[in-house]
Amino acid sequence: MNDFEARLHETLDHRAGRSMDASVLADGARRRVRRRRTTRTVVAAAVVAVALPIGFSQFGGLGSGGADQGTTVASNENSGIRKAADGFRYETWHGVSVQVPTEWEAGAMSAWCSGVDTPEEVTPVVTRPDTMAIRIACEPANGYGVTLGQPTSDNLDYDKSDGAGDGFRYAYLNRDSQRYPQGAWIGSWIDGDESVTVVTQDRELTQRIIDSAMRVDQGPTGGCPVQLNGEGISLCRYRVNELLATRTLTGEQAAAALEVLTSSPVRAKEDRCLPAESDQTAGPDDRTIVYQDGEMVATAYFRGCGEVLVVDSTQKEGLIMRKMTEDVRSLVDLD
């Protein structure tokens, strides 16, 4: 270690030595566990009613599932809107949606072994390209769940020549991959630059999920279901005008969500917190829009420290800027 490295080491040691109150850690961790469980319960109950447009070309690669798994409940000028099947919710990424069991959680398939011995012991996960992947040398490398993203040569081997139609779109099922648990049923749906990879212990479940994969009609809202026949609210997460994810809440969950949005503290003009110039990643287009009866009722911006612009008819300008509290962020951060 040279002189500069030694001084760097000493600096970090010195700064780390600043005393901090650790007495609140255990209780704080418990509060977060309770809050996470509460949020998960609310979301799990609500996402059954997630709706998405269906303007897609149905693919018939595996069985005849897919189109018959939802019920059209409304339509707008662009496309029909359908509910996910009972016990399932929609997950979307870059114009592709798939139905997954409601209890599946967000996470990395490569991190199943964190604290357990077998992949069967953990809840299957939904992985997106920006999901943090913890490399802790799990064996096998991946557990159960669904991966939304771009096809990769080391994901699942596939042969473009098997593609059907004008575009490259096909799906298949196999059980022979050392990257996944032994005996797992692995399905892959690939359409151009997007792919869905499903790994479960059950052949029918894998096939059902694969068959539900579809392209989402974009439309002016990017595919966000904005008309719900007065049955709830839609939350649609965008980044640079691209729809990343959607969630629909109905009944008490919708009311609770609106309460969270409208009860957040007001952010005064002098208390604004726009991003630093150096922050090039969280721009004004990084946002979640909340719709009710086809009308925007709130827009949550993730720039800076986060702000929520809420429609409020009691205000002179009809809008009010509120703070992005942790409860609000839990609600609107669908990415």
Binding site: L8, T11, S114, D279
Partner: protein, 160 residues
Amino acid sequence: MDVPDFDSWVAARGPSLLRLAYVLTGNQADAQDVVQDALSRALPRWSRISTVEDPDAYVRRMVVNAHISWWRKFRRRESPVDEVHDRAAPTSASFEDRDRIWQACLRLPPDQRTAIVLRFYEDLDYADIAALTGVREGSVRSRVSRAMTALRTELGENDE
């Protein structure tokens, strides 16, 4: 095997976790946030984690991953530096030197600062850092190298 209960373990090891989180995040509020996030994920699995060979290393790894997840999620390019001036002016050359180095560290991109902290605070080798952060060892070496170059340039240090 004597298995520590969660509260006792946190009481004993919490300060150390906070120190690590502090040099990773650069401020106390975020350090608390990162450690509580990691502990809240460890708590439901504590019966298992507490029996692994080195629960301390396991949870420290969770803290690092919580930090990585945190800055990726919120896309922060820089950590707040509003509280680094909350003390008296430097009174000695070494103190001033440490302050300059620390502030230069805070201006590093999060991925480079994480690599620097793991290398020079946690004393991990490149392979361990690679395994911990989920990037290739070559990328870790590159991050450390770029960070050291940036620090030396900003501080007017000559390469050795």
